[in-house]
């Protein structure tokens, strides 16, 4: 247990917070190596990545190895489940970045847990994977950034073992496209999804932003997941089981 470890990778910053007493330096170093490997393998911005070479048909899928095949398979499943609103091939090239980040964090969390670091929290550029407890008897307090007010929180959720993913326009503008129209999705400022697995929570959050107005009823149909939608005009809706702290009044009012 010690300071939060911060690493710049995949164009963003990852934070690793291990609360178990003892030293997990070796496993954290392995996790960081894993993330750099993922970056080098999957980044479409690196011309020599496996994904770039696959897209140029310089490599076959078989050449790329099992992890790339696994990611491709996941992308297909997610596209189906989201009705095409999450589509790694929407631009014509295969770009799994929207799934790879969450997937690599989910894998890292499993690595830490297997090594005995059962109480940890990873923030990969805004997508969170929590495991165990921050302190005995306490849930993780996860703040949700307000997409319209810099450095302010829109809500706080309490979670144990859970993934919390947020997609939206606050950081990089309307970069999420609606694959069906090809245009930018602008109706929603942010969507936060809580679920058991960050690969899926991340993909669902991205798909929800792409859906715009239709995201709200759709989020309620996802078994085992909770969601918060903040529209561009600030109005918000959350699923009935969304584990947010009341914004005012006593904690007893639940």
């Amino acid at each position: 247990m010690g300071a939060v470890q911060v690493v710049e990778v995949m164009g963003t910053v990852f934070s690793i917070d291990v609360r178990d007493p003892g030293s997990y330096g070796h496993m954290i170093a392995e996790v960081i190596r894993w993330w750099h490997w993922v970056d080098h393998t999957f980044s479409p911005f690196r011309p020599d990545s496996k994904i770039s070479r696959l897209n140029r048909a310089e490599l076959t899928l078989y050449d790329c190895g099992p992890q790339v095949a696994a990611v491709l398979s996941l992308c297909r499943r997610v596209k189906r489940v989201t009705g095409g609103y999450f589509d790694a091939s929407a631009t014509g090239r295969f770009d799994p970045c929207g799934l790879v980040k969450g997937w690599s964090i989910e894998t890292a969390s499993a690595m830490l847990t297997r090594a005995g670091a059962r109480n940890h929290c990873i923030n990969g550029g805004g997508d969170i994977r929590c495991a165990g407890q921050p302190e005995p008897g306490l849930p993780w307090h996860v703040g949700i950034a307000d997409p319209r007010r810099c450095r302010q929180l829109a809500a706080t959720v309490l979670v144990g073992n859970a993934a919390v993913a947020t997609s939206g326009t606050a950081e990089r503008g309307p970069h999420i496209l609606d694959p069906h129209t090809g245009g930018p999705a602008t109706a929603l400022a942010s969507v936060t999804v809580i679920g058991p697995n960050l690969t899926w929570a991340d993909a669902y959050a991205t798909a929800a932003v792409a859906m715009g107005e239709q995201a709200w009823p759709w989020l309620g149909t996802l078994d085992g997941h909770e969601g918060l939608v903040i529209a561009a005009d600030g109005t918000r809706r959350q699923t009935p089981g969304f584990p947010s702290l009341p914004r005012s009044g006593s904690l007893n009012a639940r």
Partner: protein, 141 residues
């Protein structure tokens, strides 16, 4: 934890101000505003374990005497707030017990909800991270 103690201290000061209005009604218009509170007592940086322990807050000196509270922690969370010292006559003591302490308890619990472990947001760039709440949290640990 420290933030919660500060919040309790601020609430004590606010409540003493509130009580000063009530005592004006009782004693007439000669009552004056209380002195500013002194800084909070220090306490251990991290709570560990699930044992119950008590932390005594600062003594806030008021015109009518000292006000001091004790905060009980169970499993690292505030579970109770009790008055150790209350100033003045019995009437004031009763007011504090029936009004101020329940309100203190509520405010202390709310102050706890200000504790954040991590922040979720849309993906920031490396540059964006530097201005983020998450960066502030990471630097603080």
């Amino acid at each position: 934890m420290r933030r919660a103690i500060f919040a309790v201290t601020a609430t004590i000061a606010g409540l003493v101000l509130l009580l000063s209005f009530k005592t004006t009604a009782l004693q007439g218009p000669t009552a004056q505003p209380p002195a500013a509170p002194i800084p909070a007592a220090t306490e251990p940086r991290r709570s560990t374990g699930t044992a119950t322990r008590a932390v005594t807050g600062p003594v806030v000196n008021t015109k009518w005497g000292p006000v001091q509270v004790k905060v009980t922690l169970a499993g690292g969370r505030i579970s109770d707030v009790q008055a150790l010292q209350v100033p003045g006559p019995r009437v004031l003591s009763q007011q504090i017990s029936s009004y101020a302490i329940p309100r203190l308890r509520r405010e202390a619990l709310q102050a706890q909800s200000a504790r954040i472990d991590v922040v979720t947001s849309a993906t920031y760039t490396s540059r964006g991270y530097r201005q983020s709440l998450q960066a502030a949290l990471d630097a603080g640990r």
